[in-house]
Symmetry: C2
Subunit: 364 residues, 2 copies
């Protein structure tokens, strides 16, 4: 039997972000670039004020509302600049300079959020897992009643941890959900504001979903540039200026796909099954061990190392030869990271598990 070259092997995309998108979404996304709906024009060259794209924006908002169960007191925005822009834009809009916000530091992204927030108000880091390289989610800390909001990073892409339960508090939550939005149901009533860069569970790079409880706005004293004021974008339906048309379009296609899969509750069941399959192998296989505390393991980003670090290069090669892409761990954790977002089918996870088993046989 003739063996396949690496280029011919079907790729399993475990990249942390930009990340795998559903195959049907990619097909529709490519077709719309060539000729959108038989219009004779590419979606890349149509007006953002035309009724065709306006209906895309409306559908993207409606799907967000439906999938997450949003009530009318929340606004849905599609902005740009990623979560990194939200790190300061949140505080600029909702935290006055004499107010206090509490942050739980669960990794690189929380750390960056805290740094930017400090430009705008009193920031208290009330808990941190930095002492063990962010390998767990802190618990049992006090959340002061005077906190204007509590900021959480619901899933930590780099260390592979995830909040499976929210802290018990009445303080409203501002949450960076970049890497697990639409992967599980949420209780929207607990949140004042949610933001998420698209390029993990939502779409390609280039747009940022922001969900805001409208009544928290308009209360800070500082002057805010027009483009940085959430109210601007609420008033103009995410089209105050030219929005990132194509990233929003592909995100809308992905949300349609999530809905067709049965919504976020069905996604959660699939994500649990995928995560269980991979973590079970990590725990069973004597060559591997998980990098994150078992109870805080992320369903999205599975981090693991080899018991014998000298085998890492060989395992990376074996996985790469089998078509696995993007499994090298972040330099701050080392080892490996398999990102298994919504769009990753369980069959893709099985390919990785098979490689791990074969690798164990060869290195017994």
């Amino acid at each position: 039997m003739k063996s396949l070259s690496v280029d011919q092997i079907k790729k399993q995309n475990f990249s942390a972000g930009p990340a795998i998108l559903p195959a049907t979404v990619i097909k529709e996304a490519a077709a719309a670039v060539a000729d959108w709906n038989g219009s004779g024009l590419s979606i890349l060259e149509v007006s953002h004020r035309g009724k065709e794209f306006v209906s895309v924006l409306e559908e993207a908002e409606a799907l967000t509302r439906e999938l997450l169960g949003l009530t009318d007191d929340y606004a849905v925005l599609f902005l740009t600049g990623g979560a990194s822009t939200q790190f300061y834009m949140t505080c600029m809009n909702i935290l006055d300079k004499d107010q206090t916000a509490c942050y739980v530091n669960t990794g690189t992204w929380s750390t960056k959020a805290i740094k930017e927030a400090k430009l705008f108000g009193n920031i208290e880091e009330i808990a941190s897992s930095k002492d063990r390289n962010f390998s767990y989610i802190p618990k049992g800390y006090d959340i002061p009643d005077h906190a204007h909001f509590l900021h959480l990073t619901s899933n930590n892409t780099i260390s592979g941890t995830e909040f499976h339960q929210l802290p018990d508090t009445a303080v409203p939550i501002v949450c960076d959900m970049s890497s697990n939005i639409f992967s599980r149901p949420i209780d929207i009533n607990r949140y004042s504001l949610i933001y998420a860069g698209a390029q993990k569970n939502l779409g390609p790079a280039g747009t940022t979903l922001v969900i805001i409880k409208k009544d928290i706005l308009g209360k800070v004293e500082r002057a805010i540039p027009t483009m940085l004021n959430y109210q601007t974008h609420i008033d103009k339906g995410s089209s105050f200026n030219t929005p990132p048309v194509y990233p929003i379009f592909v995100s809308m296609l992905t949300m349609r796909w999530v809905k067709a899969q049965g919504g976020v509750a069905a996604m959660e069941q699939k994500n649990i099954a995928k995560a269980n399959l991979l973590y079970k192998e990590i725990d069973r296989n004597p060559l591997f061990k998980g990098a994150a505390a078992a109870e805080d393991r992320s369903r999205m980003n599975v981090t693991f190392v080899l018991e014998k670090p000298e085998l890492e290069a060989a395992f990376l090669e074996a996985a790469t030869n089998a078509g696995c892409v993007g499994i090298k761990g972040h330099r701050s954790v080392g080892g490996f990271r398999a990102s298994i977002y919504n769009a990753m089918p369980i069959e893709g996870v099985q390919v990785l598990v098979d490689i791990m088993q074969e690798f164990a046989r060869q290195n017994a």
Copy 2:
């Protein structure tokens, strides 16, 4: 002979932005979404840190430098948020609160730039064409020596005017070139900073090109959020956070196309020919008249009205039936606007001219 339905007629895309892209660029852009370079992955799902996309970013920067003749003292960035973000980001980075910047107000976009700039320093509007609905470019005004910079909008998409000559001054220029960048050569030595939303002459919506003379940075006293500091993006090669991968990729393809066409000097000759063809018809045809002062007419956005406004609806219908898209004028000017950016071939302009002639015959 069977007549074609409207959907079957080849479209001529005169949209103001997002706007026409070269047909070859659209073809390559669609192929890369389906399968990028035979990698088995869509460009929408690859890591922005991978060598393939890093080389796209590098080529985009190199092409910008080559096409515009940039020297090493300028940095080239691909950001997000459009020109509307640059309206405040420029001043936040380079204008201290006690410094003065001078603005020439040539339309809607200049007006917005002035509004945002006022949050950061002393802003003097030294000239304006508001008195005649921005239908001309002001001339003969004084530019005070104490100005830290002079802000211009080089082409005014809505009113259809364009600077064909820079003001005679030693004051460095900050320029919004969103709608005419890469359409003609520039003398880079006159500029401290140039910004341009991609969605006219550069690519699809979703990225913003910023060109900065590096030595103007680091001199203001205010604290700047990390993402709003140009230096952040210079230090990280436009990848401090996840950049808008696909909009940058398509912009790079478009710059390759501009280079293959002979660069910006060749583009200028083609743009002059296209503009002359259309303005000549506007001046010749008794039914039409140009909306902008003849000497300040834009080569990119040709604005015109009908001598008899009651014929406007019929002309719009005639043009639409012939496949012309996006020629309705902005509500603040009325009439029509044909945007004939780089990617519009002269044959497309000829289609519109033919319709105007036919319309004149029918309405003689």
